[in-house]
């Protein structure tokens, strides 16, 4: 089913994993996984709870070191690169980031310039420009001086996305960016991500819980089950009744969305 043969030296791959094995303590979550992410695409990692989708994302973002195998960023092994250099090419928004009290939106987003400006942090003109642009893209310019703990959940999530945008990286990894948001804020965040992909050609990989959102916003869906890739391709190819039964243990109808013909799954019973 894997239509993306593994080849780390392929220059089209913005990010690639080769025979990646990842685990926590005794538990091996991902035994051996290879994949390639093409430049300028949106890829959604989906799968049931405990399938290893967040773990894979964390390994791709070098937040956890793999047991074996390697991650390649633009064809170079990520573990061999200085971490600040990686941060200039790849930004990651972890799941449910802890919000420091008393920090303002502007102060948070400013930290996105750390990989460019360095530890002593005299912000230059291009840093200020990147911060303002990140705030503008996430529609946060007016909230710049507000404290994070005074924002709504959706605004706070946008602030964290703005932090990743200020990093100005070609690759952006997001771990469940829509969790805890109501439906309109979920769409707002995903639409923003889609715009970033379309207008700036950012390569985006995101973990999503909601299959229909993944089908709507991602060009490619990778389905994980017990640490393995069990389906990989366009939402239309991936989202099948068989897959939902095998991987998610639900019976479902797959219909076309009346608005745009994208696949939508309607689960109605567990197996």
């Amino acid at each position: 089913m894997n239509r993306y043969p593994s080849n780390a030296s392929d220059h089209k791959a913005a990010l690639a994993a080769e025979a990646l094995a990842v685990g926590y303590g005794e538990r091996l979550v991902i035994p051996a996984l290879s994949l390639q992410i093409e430049l300028g695409t949106i890829t959604a990692l989906v799968g049931p709870n405990g399938s290893g989708k967040s773990t894979l994302l964390r390994a791709l973002a070098r937040l956890i070191a793999p047991r074996s195998g390697a991650v390649y960023l633009d064809g170079r092994a990520i573990a061999s690169l200085p971490t600040r250099e990686v941060a200039r090419h790849l930004a990651v928004l972890p799941q449910g980031p802890e919000t420091p009290e008393e920090l303002t939106v502007g102060e948070l987003v400013e930290q996105g310039r750390y990989p460019h400006a360095g530890p002593l942090r005299m912000l230059r003109e291009q840093d200020h420009a990147a911060i303002t642009e990140a705030l503008a893209q996430s529609n946060l310019l007016e909230l710049r001086h507000r404290r994070l703990d005074s924002l709504s959940g959706g605004e706070r999530q946008r602030a964290w996305i703005a932090l990743a945008l200020a990093q100005a990286t070609p690759v952006l990894l997001l771990d469940e960016p829509t969790t805890f948001l109501d439906v309109s804020h979920q769409l707002e965040v995903l639409t923003l991500i889609q715009q970033l992909n379309r207008s700036q050609g950012k390569t985006i990989i995101l973990v999503l819980h909601d299959l229909n959102q993944a089908a709507r916003f991602a060009g490619r869906m990778i389905v994980l089950h017990q640490g393995r890739i069990v389906a990989d391709g366009s939402p239309r190819d991936v989202l099948t009744t068989d897959l939902l039964a095998q991987v998610f243990q639900v019976q479902a109808h797959i219909i076309s969305h009346p608005a745009d013909g994208l696949p939508v799954c309607l689960p109605y019973a567990t197996i």
Binding site: L63, R88, P97, E98, P100, E102, Q111, Y114, P119, R121
Partner: protein, 335 residues
């Protein structure tokens, strides 16, 4: 609201704070058993002609004490701000580094053995307490920070090591009660009898540790976003946290060695500073430092003034003021 104003007018705020600190130094020097007019103090400080006895009191007796209060307070304030930032815990304080209890244990050990033969053990005390503070800090650092360090592990190790060192101190004091008298004031934290030799122990540390701490503000800012985000931003999280912890230990050990086991200052000063200037470490660190200096100077001036001729150790006064504030913090966080 207050925070926004303070951020917009940060530079004037710092200048104003420096002016207030200067006035506090003047008042501190003016206060005491012989009260000197603040104008005479300023005149004496700037080498204008004043009565010879006033000049001696200002330069030889009181100025070193005021400078020590200023700098030690700044060190406690900055150490507390650094620890609260890196532990991501508003209740972290310098004692957590193990430096305070380590310094106290060494001082008590030395006083109960070698020191009691000396006429003025107070003068040599800082030289003994300093390595003790560093040893206590290193112990916490090695046990809590070796390899991959989790924040909670460092905090718990610090609390545990401090408790162990304090109980060892208690046992020694019980066995050697005659040492208690000499060390009691120092245990509580006091500026009584601080003279130029003490200042000479303090300033070299301050000159190294204060700028190092301030220079790390940018790193602390990234670190307080949490380990995952900080790693994503290209920060070497474990290494950075240990470096900042080490700087906080240096600050604490240096200050404790000279003024004794003052607690609460490193907790309160950063807290007030955070209320005023917010959590951005590039403003929080310098302002906590100024806050710590101001509070210690003011507290010492008050203890010298209200209770003449008895001198209350400033450490006790700070705890009396600090404990209710601490309770208030806990109460506010839980509601």
């Amino acid at each position: 609201m207050m925070q926004r104003i303070a951020v917009r007018y940060y530079r004037p705020l710092i200048l104003l704070s420096l002016l207030v600190l200067f006035l506090l130094v003047v008042l501190h020097v003016a206060a005491g058993s012989v009260v000197i007019s603040p104008f005479d103090v300023i005149a004496a400080l700037f080498n204008r002609p004043v009565a010879p006895y006033e000049r001696i009191i200002v330069w030889d007796l009181r100025l070193p004490r005021a400078l020590i209060a200023l700098v030690a307070g700044a060190m406690f304030g900055l150490a507390g701000a650094i620890l609260q930032s890196i532990m991501r815990n508003p209740l972290a304080e310098p004692e957590m580094t193990g430096a305070t209890s380590g310094a106290v244990l060494f001082a008590v050990l030395w006083l109960s053995e070698a020191g009691r033969q000396l006429d003025q053990p107070g003068l040599l005390l800082p030289f003994v307490a300093l390595p003790g503070g560093l040893a206590g800090g290193c112990l916490v650092y090695l046990l809590g920070g070796a390899g991959k360090s989790a924040t909670s592990r460092l905090v718990l190790t610090g609390v545990l090591i401090s408790a162990v060192l304090r109980s060892a101190t208690s046992i020694i004091l019980l066995l050697r009660q005659e040492a208690l008298g000499a060390v009691l004031l120092w245990l509580i934290g006091s500026l009584n009898g601080r003279v130029w030799p003490h200042w000479d122990v303090l300033w070299p540390w301050a000159i190294v540790a204060l700028p190092s701490g301030l220079a790390c503000a940018g790193l602390a800012n990234v670190l307080q976003l949490g380990d995952a985000s900080a790693t994503g931003l290209g920060l070497r999280v474990g290494w950075t946290r240990l470096s900042l912890f080490f700087i906080a230990t240096l600050l604490t050990a240096g200050a404790v060695a000279v003024v004794g086991g003052i607690t609460f200052l490193g907790l309160i000063a950063p807290h007030i500073a955070r209320r005023v200037v917010g959590a951005d470490a590039r403003r929080l660190f310098p302002f906590s430092m100024l806050m710590g200096a101001g509070i210690l100077l003011a507290a010492d001036t008050i203890t010298q003034t209200i209770a003449q001729p008895v001198t209350i150790p400033v450490g006790a006064a700070l705890v009396l003021l600090g404990a209710p504030y601490f309770l208030f913090l806990i109460w506010r966080r839980s509601t």
